[in-house]
């Protein structure tokens, strides 16, 4: 015992104590406690421990529809012509299973598209490859709601799709309208597949070519090599990307809200995330008005996300192959394609990039033309009006200022916490370090909307009337949701930097008489400066683009809303003509900031896929 306390005393110098308590405080107080309180509330009914709310939820046909409606598509004549309606009436499994259905389908499609694209980019040489490499990153540019709105507009009854393929090219004998869950799946797939793509790409590139060559010398060829060597080696990276896609699909609000802007209400709203969102925007005056089923629903969603995250994490750590090849750098295996293969590759890539980057292009067009309100499938006139409203419209300007304030504060806070946690994890041998390590990773598995529910419940119950009251200061709380949600990525970026820096560099300073604070400030920090700045910039962009907590908590006090909240309001309530175009202009602003930051941080971190942070 005494040797244990002595060891504690020795290891917990003032730097370590400060870093440890700062990171633990933020993570426990702003993550664990609110979620824990939410779980407790969900299991209490009339002051007693009970599964009442869960039973009520599962027996409600709105949440679990049985038998499910599987009417995927049907033909119908309307005043505008003969239509094939896809997703309008079904599939519908009820709120709970709709969310699962969407998340699983989006994950599967993202894996198929992402892995195929990554394999082509990693292993084949063809004309225009650099073009595709850049263009494949366009879908990563975040334009929440507006991208979905664009897709909705294109796929609508009077949309561009029908205009081109039915009216002009006459390829389709009837018009098509895609809405409901298929539309959500389409939008989420084209927005999220790049996550799998980038993970798979970096996995394929880091496979030592001699592994594949060895298989070939043993007689394996073509697909056999891919299936037996390449894919298994890349699988941990692909699985990690897929898990993230699953979780962000589960919590996504961009697609349902954007489609609501394009189509009004419909099956695309019958999702857990949207259900919880509608609780917030229904005009809450106090925490008592939140229906207890919301907690239960939030707990179910949290449980699904955490279960998926933990199983994938276990799988990935189990299969962390040490792929260190003997000797120095190697040239990845790159092959030329035959004429047939070349045609297939071009068709696949062109189809993919055109579809996937369409929303981003559409957002730019929306922002700079009359497309949003001319009632036609195509834009007819250029106008600078909406871009200029970014600086002239007081509401818009306020949302921009709010976003900048929250995001800068959050960036500072998450750098402090991220650097502290990463430094303790990388450098100190204190008991409980593993717990901190897991605690830092947990936020990946926590859907933002669940965090918002937890905050609302916890802070409104215990901190009413204080600066932490979500009804008084939702903006202040957003600083903490951004921080907590982004910490895994910030900490990992710093941790990677520390791993590349030999510990003896710090030991040399300690040896020369510098205490731990001085060593940290003069040796460790300058050596990982690129990672810290790069990580900070990306975290800033993340905060600017954050959707789920921004649009829920802000709805408790709209004047504190950030950019994404303003956009969601405009799209969701798309009443006044032209306002969608302002949301698009805000989308252009967000994309521009993201582009600048991606360029700067890629330069800093000298790593093409760095901005993903996954």
């Amino acid at each position: 015992m005494s040797s244990f306390t002595k060891r504690l005393k020795r290891e917990l110098d003032s730097l370590t104590t400060t870093q440890l308590s700062a990171s633990l405080f933020i993570l426990i107080f702003f993550l664990i406690v609110p979620l824990f309180y939410m779980v407790i509330r969900a299991f209490f009914h009339n002051g007693r421990l009970s599964s009442y709310y869960f039973q009520a939820l599962l027996s409600d046909p709105n949440f679990v529809t049985y038998p499910p409606n599987l009417n995927f598509a049907y033909m119908s004549r309307t005043s505008l012509g003969t239509f094939l309606f896809v997703g309008n009436r079904g599939p519908d499994f009820g709120v709970l299973f709709n969310s699962l259905f969407v998340a699983i389908t989006v994950t599967v499609f993202s894996i198929l598209l992402g892995v195929t694209a990554a394999f082509i980019m990693a292993r084949y040489e063809f004309l225009g490859k650099i073009f595709f490499r850049v263009v494949l990153l366009i879908p990563m540019l975040a334009t929440p709601f507006v991208n979905a709105f664009v897709i909705g507009k294109v796929l609508g009854q009077n949309g561009l799709f029908n205009y081109v393929f039915h009216d002009i090219l006459r390829l389709l004998p009837f018009k098509v309208q895609i809405s409901g869950l298929p539309a959500v799946i389409l939008i989420q797939t084209i927005s999220f597949f790049p996550i799998v793509y980038l993970n798979a790409l970096s996995s394929f590139i880091s496979i030592d070519p001699s592994m594949e060559e060895q298989a070939e010398t043993l007689g394996a060829r073509g697909f056999k090599v891919f299936r037996s060597v390449t894919l298994p080696l890349a699988l941990p990276g692909i699985a990690a990307g897929a898990a993230i896609v699953f979780i962000i699909s589960l919590e996504d609000l961009g697609a349902p809200i954007g489609l609501s802007g394009a189509f009004g209400s419909g099956l695309h709203q019958k999702l857990i995330s949207f259900y919880i969102y509608s609780e917030f925007i229904g005009g809450l005056g106090s925490v008592e008005q939140v229906h207890a089923s919301t907690y239960a629903l939030a707990v179910i969603m949290l449980a699904i996300a955490v279960a998926v995250f933990l199983s994938i994490k276990k799988y990935v750590t189990l299969r962390q192959y040490a792929m260190i090849s003997k000797g120095g750098r190697f040239n990845p295996r790159i092959r030329k394609l035959g004429p047939l293969g070349l045609i297939a590759v071009y068709l696949f890539l062109l189809g993919l990039v055109i579809t996937a980057s369409f929303p981003q292009i559409g957002v730019v067009v929306l922002a700079m033309s009359d497309w949003a309100y001319n009632g036609l499938p195509v834009p007819t006139a250029f106008t600078p009006q909406f871009m200029s409203e970014l600086v002239s419209e007081p509401d818009v300007l306020r949302s921009i200022m709010n976003s900048l304030t929250y995001s800068s504060m959050a960036t500072i806070l998450m750098l402090v916490v991220g650097v502290s946690a990463a430094y303790v994890i990388a450098r100190r041998k204190i008991p409980g370090k593993d717990a901190l390590d897991s605690l830092v990773t947990v936020p990946i598995a926590v859907p933002g909307i669940i965090l918002a529910v937890g905050y609302l419940l916890f802070f409104a119950t215990f901190f009413s009337g204080t600066p932490f009251d979500p009804f008084l200061n939702p903006g202040f709380l957003l600083i903490f949701t951004y921080t907590v949600r982004r910490i895994p990525f910030t900490a990992r970026s710093v941790f990677a930097g520390l791993q590349q820096t030999h510990e003896s560099l710090e030991e040399a300073a300690l040896n020369l008489g510098a205490n731990r604070w001085r060593t940290f400030a003069t040796i460790a920090i300058p050596l990982i400066a690129a990672n810290v700045i790069g990580g900070g910039l990306l975290s800033f962009v993340y905060s600017m683009n954050e959707v789920s907590t921004s649009i829920t908590l802000s709805s408790l006090k709209p004047e504190q809303g950030p950019i994404t909240f303003y956009m969601s309001q405009v799209i969701y309530s798309s009443g006044a003509v032209g306002t969608v175009s302002v949301a698009a202009a805000l989308g252009v602003l967000l994309m521009s900031i993201q582009l600048v930051v991606m360029t700067v941080s890629n330069y800093l971190l000298k790593q093409r896929v760095a901005f993903l942070g996954v």
């Binding site: 002595k6 060891r7 020795r10 110098d13 030999h502 003896s504 560099l505 030991e507 040399a508 300073a509 300690l510 040896n511 020369l512 008489g513 510098a514 205490n515 731990r516 001085r518 060593t519 003069t522 040796i523 300058p526 050596l527």
Partner: protein, 361 residues
């Protein structure tokens, strides 16, 4: 100038015991080397002295001060790391000045002392370079200067020459030795290179599997190894197994497959009838008539410049290696006689067999 004393130091990393019960006394101004194969715990021992690792058991004293609980930055040691650990974001001047600035010395004083130390390590004019712009040998000198400039109480060197090429290594070891003598610094040097250890050290400790196998001057350790590990680690050996048949003060008679040998007992005492190891280094053989006759046929003979190497097949079929004067000539297959002085035949207790590093020739 400080005396360093280690008392029964133990360090475990999980299941592995890196240092198990090491006690050492290192004198004022002494150049003391810890020699051992990689993974023997010698670097851990050095890091414990620097305060970078904390021992699980035992005490460390600098003179009479118990420093076991003292953090590294309060110990006043100057350490040169194996990879030099030069800060890439600082110039040579800033690297060297770091420790002085930590001491809050005035700017002039810092400049003066950095200049002085640069002269000592022969790096004047390199102040504004960055570590990546220096050659390996220059980096090594900067690391040394950085450790020396703070006027440390103890200089700790962790295989500082292992990253240099052979010629530079020899040059630098003379340099380090010169500076150490000039400053009369208590120096602890860690290496796996036995030649380096012998050339540089006043005394050395041979370490294996976390334990000190023997401490002594280079010639003591080389000529009177206390066990088989020390004998084999410090040079090539012919190892013959035999039985004690008689004792005469320090000298012991052993019979090895009918071959009668007389040698010195260097390890634990032996009694008549005990099993024993006879260790003879190749260079201990001579063609000049003397004690301990080895008769055999030449299996292989090769000229190695400063000596001639013979592989001699002796009566029991065993082959021994002998390095004799380079002007000796013999035909392969011919019968020759070799002799070894009883001073050079080392008799060791067989219990060391288990610990043998096993470099049987």
């Amino acid at each position: 100038m400080v005396r360093v004393r280690l008392e029964n130091v133990v360090k475990r990393f999980g299941e592995v015991t890196a240092v198990s019960g090491v006690s050492l006394d290192i004198n004022h101004g002494e150049f003391f080397t810890v020699l051992g194969p990689s993974g023997c715990g010698k670097t851990t021992l050095l890091r414990i002295i620097a305060g970078l690792e904390h021992p699980d058991e035992g005490k460390i004293y600098f003179d009479d001060l118990d420093v076991t609980e003292l953090p590294p930055y309060k110990r006043g040691t100057g350490m040169v790391f194996q990879n030099y650990a030069l800060w890439p974001h600082m110039s040579v001047f800033d690297n060297i000045a770091y420790g002085l600035r930590v001491m809050k010395l005035p700017g002039d004083e810092v400049k003066r002392r950095v200049r002085k130390i640069l002269e000592l390590v022969k790096l004047v004019g390199m102040e504004n370079r960055y570590p990546t712009q220096l050659s390996g040998g220059q980096q090594q000198r900067v690391a040394l200067a950085r450790a020396l400039v703070i006027e440390p109480r103890i200089l700790l060197l962790d295989e500082p020459l292992s990253n240099l090429d052979a010629r530079l290594r020899i040059e630098m070891r003379t340099e380090i030795k010169r500076i150490q003598k000039e400053l009369e610094l208590t120096t602890i040097y860690v290496t796996h290179d036995q030649e380096e250890a012998m050339v540089m050290s006043d005394r050395l400790a041979v370490m294996n599997a976390g334990r000190i196998m023997q401490v002594g001057t280079p010639s003591e350790v080389y000529r009177r190894p206390k066990n088989l590990f020390v004998a084999t680690f410090l040079g090539r050996c012919n190892i013959l197994k035999g039985k004690v048949i008689g004792r005469h003060n320090d000298l012991v008679d052993v019979v090895v497959n009918g071959l009668k040998l007389r040698g010195v007992l260097t390890g634990k005492p032996l009694n008549e009838g005990d099993k024993a190891f006879c260790i003879i280094r190749p260079e201990s053989f001579s063609v000049r008539e003397g004690e301990n006759l080895f008769r055999g046929t030449v299996e292989w003979i090769s000229f190695a410049g400063s000596y001639t190497q013979i592989l001699l097949k002796i009566s029991d079929g065993r082959v021994i290696t002998a390095n004799v004067s380079s002007n000796f000539r013999a035909e392969t297959g011919s019968e020759i006689k070799l002799y070894a002085s009883s001073e050079d035949v080392l008799i060791l207790h067989p219990e060391e067999e288990a610990m043998a590093y096993s470099k049987e020739l």
